[in-house]
């Protein structure tokens, strides 16, 4: 079909795998961050806000490079944590997941925060007075009521993850079958004079996946509205 090589098929599969894993991995962290930013007051809130939103404004290659410095063999975390434990992250698909998760993190947090901020404070008070502790309230009230924001955030991160290139190429490298996602495959074809047809074919796949994801998001959003 479309003259794809095995490397191309694995690029497609890898893109979906990396984006999905990054999204699932980030969910609890993004939720926790959104919760803290919405419901807890503390000194340094502004710093957290800036830190969380930084990936939005930084060029992805900068993020990739910073991750490389931290997680590489000589890096802060690499030298003191990863090496002793025998964990290799750079140039593995795990690095691709981390790069995608970091770049997409603010995209996931934002809709979650918006949804949480829209929750009537009285609902939380009621749940507490009915005997629910703060964790109980999170699970039984905040989470279900903000689920639309959670889904929106997940879809955004997934979509962004499918297209992640800058950070990924630096920290995970371009390894066919291991870290070569669709954008990296397209880049390689696009640098080659005879690669235009293949590049366009992969572009078409990329667009198709994005369309499917966005249609799914719309459908889900409408379903939530109807249920209300």
């Amino acid at each position: 079909m479309l003259g794809f090589t095995p490397a191309d098929y694995s690029a497609i599969l890898l893109s979906v795998k990396v984006a999905t894993t990054a999204t699932l991995l980030s969910l609890p962290f993004a939720f926790a961050v959104a919760y803290v930013m919405t419901y807890r007051r503390f000194r340094g809130m502004v710093a957290l806000d800036v830190a969380v939103n930084l990936p939005l404004t930084l060029p992805p290659v900068v993020i990739g490079y910073i991750l490389l410095i931290l997680l590489g063999r000589e890096g802060l975390i690499g030298r003191h944590v990863l090496q002793p434990l025998g964990i290799q992250l750079i140039f593995t698909w795990k690095a691709a997941v981390i790069a995608t998760a970091v770049v997409g993190f603010p995209l996931m947090v934002r809709p979650m925060r918006t949804a949480m901020e829209a929750i009537d404070e009285r609902l939380i008070h009621v749940s507490r007075l009915l005997g629910a502790g703060w964790f109980d309230t999170i699970i039984t009230v905040i989470l279900p009521v903000s689920v639309r924001g959670i889904i929106a955030g997940s879809v955004l991160m997934f979509a962004r993850g499918l297209g992640e290139f800058g950070a990924t190429v630096i920290v995970a490298g371009n390894i066919p079958g291991v870290t070569q996602t669709i954008p990296l495959a397209i880049y390689e074809y696009a640098s080659s004079p005879r690669g235009d047809v293949m590049a366009l074919s992969l572009c078409a796949i990329s667009i198709a996946i994005s369309v499917v994801v966005l249609v799914f998001h719309e459908w889900l959003a409408r379903r939530m509205v109807r249920r209300d």
Binding site: L129, L130, G131, V141, D228
Partner: protein, 352 residues
């Protein structure tokens, strides 16, 4: 129920500084908007933290600033109903009702689910989503939800203020029935004297963050009488209407009252303003008012520029009329005087 409170809280430009002790089942907290009623109640519930003070409920210290003791709201067993029902949108009516019940330890579960549903008449709503309930239905579910949490004190923060009049007095009997059936003491917060009259025995009068006095709704109403155009509101619970000449006659004490706004409902709550009662020294032979009551003056009391007259209309019927000081002198009205009270059939307003 016994509640001892000493609290101070300062924020923005507002300073709450209260100290009081109340015992009873139906306590009111009265005051104008912004006087600190909601703040006080939030502090008692544990939803916000005071600057300093003490809260002791039924002998248990819920908060003590000096000992750094602050029991979390989920452990205080204090329930709350707000102005807006704030039902959980993602749960059904049943889910809402059982939320607190599920989290109540079995030892404390004294109130049966079915009984509450029965009293509040919400059985037919059980599986519905909360979005399709009417305002009154929502508030009833909110009350049921709070009650099923088996609280030892129920805080009612202006629960009727968001409802329109007819709905307001519709909810009142449900509220009273639930609290009396299941013996739940409550603190009723409102800026409406009428609601105080109906719902409370004792009242804490709050103003600008301070407790002015501990009094009763009655006393407050009487004190306010002279200040307000409406005067004193007589509340009459009347039964057994009989249709007469196009209107209805209700039993009241050992007399009958003719009321234009009556209907064939077996029971009704009516309001009669003190200013609508005309007093005669002697029996007027012919009068257009359909109600003429023979009464004896129990006492008179001063209220700003007017004089309130407590009337005994026989058989447990009491009314408060309001006349000018001059009229009192002219008619020689004093304790023990026999007077006739005339009230037009149209003067009564049906509340429920």
């Amino acid at each position: 129920m016994e509640l001892q409170v000493t609290l101070q809280k300062r924020f923005n430009n507002f300073h709450l500084d209260v100290e009081f002790e109340v015992q009873g089942e139906r306590i009111g907290v009265f005051g104008p908007s912004g006087c600190g009623k909601s703040t006080l109640v939030g502090l008692i519930a544990g939803l916000s933290k005071p600057d300093r003070g003490k809260v002791i409920l039924d002998g248990e210290t819920l908060y003590d600033g000096t000992k750094n003791l602050n029991i979390r709201p989920e452990h205080r067993r204090v329930g709350m109903v707000f102005q807006r029902p704030s039902l959980f949108p993602h749960l059904s009516v049943k889910g809402n009702l059982t939320y607190g019940l599920k989290r109540c330890s079995t030892a404390n579960r004294k109130i049966a689910f079915d009984d509450v549903v029965e009293v509040l008449q919400i059985k037919h709503l059980m599986d519905r989503g909360v979005k399709y309930l009417s305002g009154g239905e929502k508030q009833r579910v909110a009350i049921g939800r709070a009650v099923l949490g088996n609280p030892r004190l129920l805080l009612l923060d202006e629960p009727l203020s968001a409802l329109d009049d007819s709905l307001k007095f519709n909810i009142v009997p449900f509220l009273k029935d639930v609290c009396s059936t299941f013996t739940i003491p409550y603190l009723f917060i409102s800026h409406s004297l009428l609601e105080m009259q109906i719902m409370t025995d004792q009242v804490l009068n709050l103003s600008d963050g301070r407790v002015l006095e501990k009094t009763t709704a009655e006393a407050l109403v009487r004190a306010r009488m002279g200040e307000s155009m409406a005067g004193y509101m007589n509340l009459l619970r009347l039964t057994s209407p009989q249709p007469v000449d196009g209107i209805y006659a209700y039993n009241w004490g050992n007399q009958q009252l003719l009321i234009a706004s009556g209907d064939n409902q077996p029971e009704g709550l009516f309001e009669l303003l003190s200013t609508e009662i005309i007093l005669f020294k002697s029996h007027p032979e012919a009068i257009s008012a359909r109600n003429l009551l023979q009464c004896r003056v129990i006492r008179t009391f001063e209220a700003r520029h007017r004089v309130g007259v407590d009337l005994d209309c026989g058989g447990d019927g009491h009314l408060v009329a309001e006349v000018s000081r001059q009229a009192v002198e002219e008619l020689g009205i004093m304790e023990g005087s026999e007077v006739y009270a005339a009230v037009k059939a149209t003067a009564f307003r049906k509340l429920v």
